[in-house]
């Protein structure tokens, strides 16, 4: 029963925050200096596109009506008209491809990062104070402090620029649409290796650090001493007693750091020219295509929101004591 009310409250917050995000996104592009006419309607584009944008966002009407229309449009997945990137085309039509590319990159990368990061953190924490711990943590700390784009640049320079093992940019190879399915798969994997590696190592460092700290904390608890006194094997202590508790902070931080992860994704996509949402953000900023930027930001914010919600649910299952 308690679980159900917890779920209900979380869902209520989710809905409220969702509306808050839509409202925030609506006003962010309208209250800034210059007003909506200056921000949303790009200066350099043709009169035709300008008129189309004015009409689409109903910029001539008062704010409350504009907002009602905007909310309606968002819920029907209508993000308006791109000003420069797709010159007057519907944003909704162009989005699926970049989103697919990004989901592929972030999904693979995050899964790998959590798996490897937890493993590395566990490895270091178990050998606390030994050389393996020092080396592992120095490694993690360095990558944690290193901006993702820097590491990506170095990888690009070494593996694509000098050794020429991997392509310099792109998410897929040339003539992708004419390829057979196997070739398509091969081309994708070939183009994804460098970005995914860069992304994984950067994100992994954070998980490793948290895992190591939380596990060292747990390992000093009294119940671990008890387990040892009972004569349990190291493996059993780690698996049955330590890891279950140590995973909790990892889940919390994973939820909080999704914003970070998106930042890392944008940097990686930018450096490797991988045509995903991050690259699209860059295009939108450079071309001053604010309708598109608005749509991208909304999508990112909602994704983070939903991910946080899921993390809360997972946390609840992992730690039934939770009673917030």
């Amino acid at each position: 029963m308690e679980m159900r009310s917890y779920m209900a409250r979380k869902t209520l917050y989710l809905v409220i925050t969702l509306f808050a995000i839509i409202a925030f996104n609506f006003f962010l592009f309208r209250v800034m200096p210059g007003g909506p006419e200056d921000v949303l309607v790009p200066k350099g584009s043709s009169e035709f596109i300008k008129d189309a944008i004015r009409e689409k966002f109903h910029l001539n009407e008062p704010y409350p009506e504009q907002f009602a229309i905007y909310v309606k449009q968002v819920f029907t997945l209508d993000f308006g008209i791109s000003a420069a990137r797709w010159k007057g085309a519907n944003i909704t039509e162009g989005l699926p491809q970049p989103i697919f590319n990004t989901v592929l990159l972030v999904g693979t990368g995050t899964a790998l990062a959590i798996w490897l990061g937890v493993a590395l953190g566990k490895f270091a924490a178990w050998r606390r104070g030994k050389p393996a711990d020092t080396v592992g943590m120095a490694f993690a700390l360095t990558f944690y402090s290193m901006p993702t784009f820097l590491f990506a640049l170095v990888m690009l320079m070494v593996f694509a620029g000098e050794l020429k093992w991997f392509p310099l940019n792109g998410a897929v190879g040339r003539g992708y649409s004419d390829m057979s399915i196997l070739e398509k798969l091969a081309s994708r994997i070939y183009h994804m290796i460098l970005p995914v590696t860069a992304f994984t190592i950067e994100v992994m460092a954070e998980y490793a650090l948290i895992m190591r700290n939380s596990l060292t904390d747990v390992l000093t608890e009294d119940y671990i001493v008890t387990a040892r006194a009972k004569g349990l094997s190291n493996k059993a202590i780690l698996r049955d007693h330590a890891m279950k508790n140590a995973m909790l902070p990892v889940v919390t931080v994973a939820a909080i750091s999704i914003g970070w992860v998106l930042g890392g994704d944008i940097m990686v996509e930018l450096v490797f020219g991988y045509e995903g949402l991050g690259m699209l953000t860059w295009d939108a900023v450079n071309l001053r295509d604010f309708p598109l930027l608005q749509a991208i930001f909304l999508i990112m914010a909602i994704v983070v929101l939903v991910a946080n919600f899921l993390a809360d649910i997972i946390y609840m299952y992992l730690d039934p004591r939770v009673n917030v």
Partner: protein
């Protein structure tokens, strides 16, 4: 084809009519010859304008017109191209003679179809072109080249209103030909055409006081009576707001000064003197605690190393002008290699002759110990100056975020109930927003100013501070001395100021140091994204230009390496110090 067919018939009839073999041989030869040239002949017959004699002699027909080019006006010292053309076909350029004659310090003659010449005297020069063919038939034409003095006005200027260089000196004394210019007239008007002033003389001064666009036109007259004029544009940019121009003063120094003044005036008004005995005692106690903490901190080797690295960075930032090898690294050196191959065709890194550096010759003179970038700017000096931007952003943005976070956290934690609920929901909302994309969006809308970089980073990173402050306030609030202070009727402001803040702030200090690391990290990200201020030297901007110029393809590792190592070093140092401070201030964690 019709022509060809008739020839074939002729040939066949010839063959039929002649019986003698000798005759036949001659006829066959003739026929073959005819066969060979017949298409050519046919063409010649079809082309009506081409006279057969024209092909033979290349003579000038009556219809030919020689053209010496159009009249032009050139500045003295600049080359003129004398270029002759003929109206008929291009047949026989080689056998025609083109002679040019003109006056320039005496009569001069030049021959050739195209003749480059630089006139040394001003005035109107009549140039006569004579075209002669081998049969001595000739044609003439004239072109007038007007050579005028060249005014030297200086270059276009952008002035900032409020600065002390609004009075500009215009120096035209270098105008050509030197010494023979009789008068210099300056006309200063707004760009719209409103007349402002007329000045004369080779060197004049004018003050531009109001913002706007101005045109300055110089008209010179030389001793030959030739007149020439040239314009430059002066733009006076409106005065920036005081807050924007002196934002470090407004946001950092002024508040600190005000707080100090407030404390001093408060003490003086109480009449207790500036330094009381209690102060001395307090300071002694604080020093004692500090010494104890310092001992713990020093024992943390990683944190201590981080501190040393930080001190090095601060020294770098302060002494950047002394340590750098070039006076102003943001101004690039002009390559002094004369006119290289068209730079557009070269790969980006090689565009500048100074670029692929780490060459021995440049390495040994120590001007560019770490090489240069695509514009010939010294990487070493840029890296030195870059530490300034990073430190300023790190400290100021963190100050903004700590102040915001502390205020909201204090409010939520101390007042509780509905205030807490509202403030925490707002905090949660900002915590959920993906803040890298949020920073990008805000920077894109606000524009690329260094001030905005700082402010945007500051106002997107406060939620975590607010949460920590709130949780600390909640624990402190329940302590006995707060309850007692409330019982004797102390005001909320007094309790917060004297009891809660001193107990909470040290605890968030560690978090603050970590926030600095994140702020520096964010700044480099924004710069790399292309949203940094282009006029400020920073490591992120350096990396961005390295990426834009495809340094990774050219293997310019020093260009990526120097700022990269600096960023990692500084962020790592702040993180290590932050962890160590956390270790010192939260002894609970020390057993780890």
């Amino acid at each position: 084809m019709a022509v060809f067919d008739t020839e074939m018939e002729k040939l066949q009839s010839c063959e039929r009519s002649s019986r003698s073999s000798a005759k036949a041989f001659g006829v066959v030869l003739f026929a073959v010859a005819i066969l060979a040239v017949s298409p050519l002949l046919g063409l010649m017959i079809l082309a009506p304008s081409l006279d057969a004699s024209d092909v033979r002699t290349h003579s000038l027909s009556a219809a030919t017109i020689a053209n010496a080019g159009s009249d032009e006006t050139v500045w003295v010292g600049n080359q003129t191209l004398l270029n002759a053309t003929l109206t008929t076909s291009d047949y026989g350029w080689q056998v025609l003679y083109f002679n040019w004659s003109f006056e320039d310090n005496g009569t001069l003659k030049r021959s050739g179809r195209v003749v480059p010449y630089t006139f040394s005297t001003t005035g109107i020069h009549n140039v006569t072109l004579t075209v002669t063919d081998p049969t001595n038939a000739s044609l003439t034409d004239e072109v007038v080249v007007t050579v005028v003095p060249e005014p030297v006005t200086g270059s276009n200027r952008i002035l900032h209103e409020g600065s002390d260089v609004l009075t500009i000196t215009f120096d035209a004394s270098l105008s050509e030909p030197k010494g023979s210019i009789v008068s210099y007239e300056w006309n200063i008007s707004t760009k719209a055409g409103t007349f402002l002033a007329n000045l004369s003389g080779p060197v004049v001064q004018y003050s531009f006081n109001k913002s706007g666009n101005y045109t300055v036109t110089l008209t010179v007259t030389d001793s030959n009576g030739m007149i020439a004029s040239k314009s430059i544009f002066v733009r006076v940019v409106p005065k920036p707001l005081f807050i924007v121009a002196h934002w470090i003063f407004t946001f950092i120094e002024l508040p600190i000064l005000l707080i100090v003044a407030y404390i001093i005036i408060g003490r003086l008004r109480k009449g207790a003197g500036l330094v009381t005995k209690t102060d001395v005692e307090k300071a002694r106690l604080q020093y004692k605690t500090f010494k104890k903490d310092w001992k713990v901190f020093k024992a943390n080797r990683l944190g201590f190393t981080g501190l040393i690295v930080l001190v090095m960075f601060v020294v770098m930032a302060i002494l950047a002008p002394v340590l750098s090898t070039v006076p102003n690294p943001n101004e690039h050196e002009e390559p002094n290699v004369p006119d290289p191959i068209d730079p557009k065709n070269l790969p980006p890194l090689q565009q500048n002759p100074l670029s692929p550096t780490l060459k021995k010759s440049i390495y040994t003179n120590w001007t560019h110990p770490l090489g240069t970038d695509h514009k010939g700017q010294d990487i070493y000096s840029l890296t030195l100056y870059g530490s300034r931007a990073s430190l300023i952003v790190g400290l100021v943005a963190t100050a903004i975020s700590v102040i915001l976070g502390a205020l909201i956290g204090l409010g939520a934690g101390y007042f509780g109930k509905i205030t807490d609920e509202v403030l925490m929901r707002v905090t949660d909302f900002f915590l959920v927003l993906p803040w890298f994309p949020l920073m990008i969006v805000m920077m894109a809308i606000l524009g690329q100013k260094f001030l905005w970089v700082v402010v945007v980073i500051g106002i997107t990173s406060w939620p975590s501070t607010a949460r920590i402050v709130r949780s600390q306030v909640l624990t402190v609030k329940e302590r006995q001395f707060i309850v007692r202070a409330q019982a004797i009727g102390a005001s909320d402001a007094h309790i917060i100021k004297t009891h809660i803040l001193p107990n909470v702030l040290p605890l968030i200090f560690a978090n603050t140091v970590l926030l600095i690391a994140i702020a520096i990290f964010s700044e480099s990200f924004l710069d790399f994204f292309g949203l940094g201020d282009p006029n400020v030297i920073s490591w992120g901007t350096m990396l961005e230009s390295a990426y834009e110029q495809e340094a990774f393809k050219g293997g310019a590792w020093w260009w990526i390496g120097a700022p990269g190592v600096a960023i990692v070093g500084m962020v790592l140092a702040f993180s290590l110090v932050g962890y160590a401070v956390d270790d010192v201030l939260n002894p609970k964690l020390r057993r780890r």
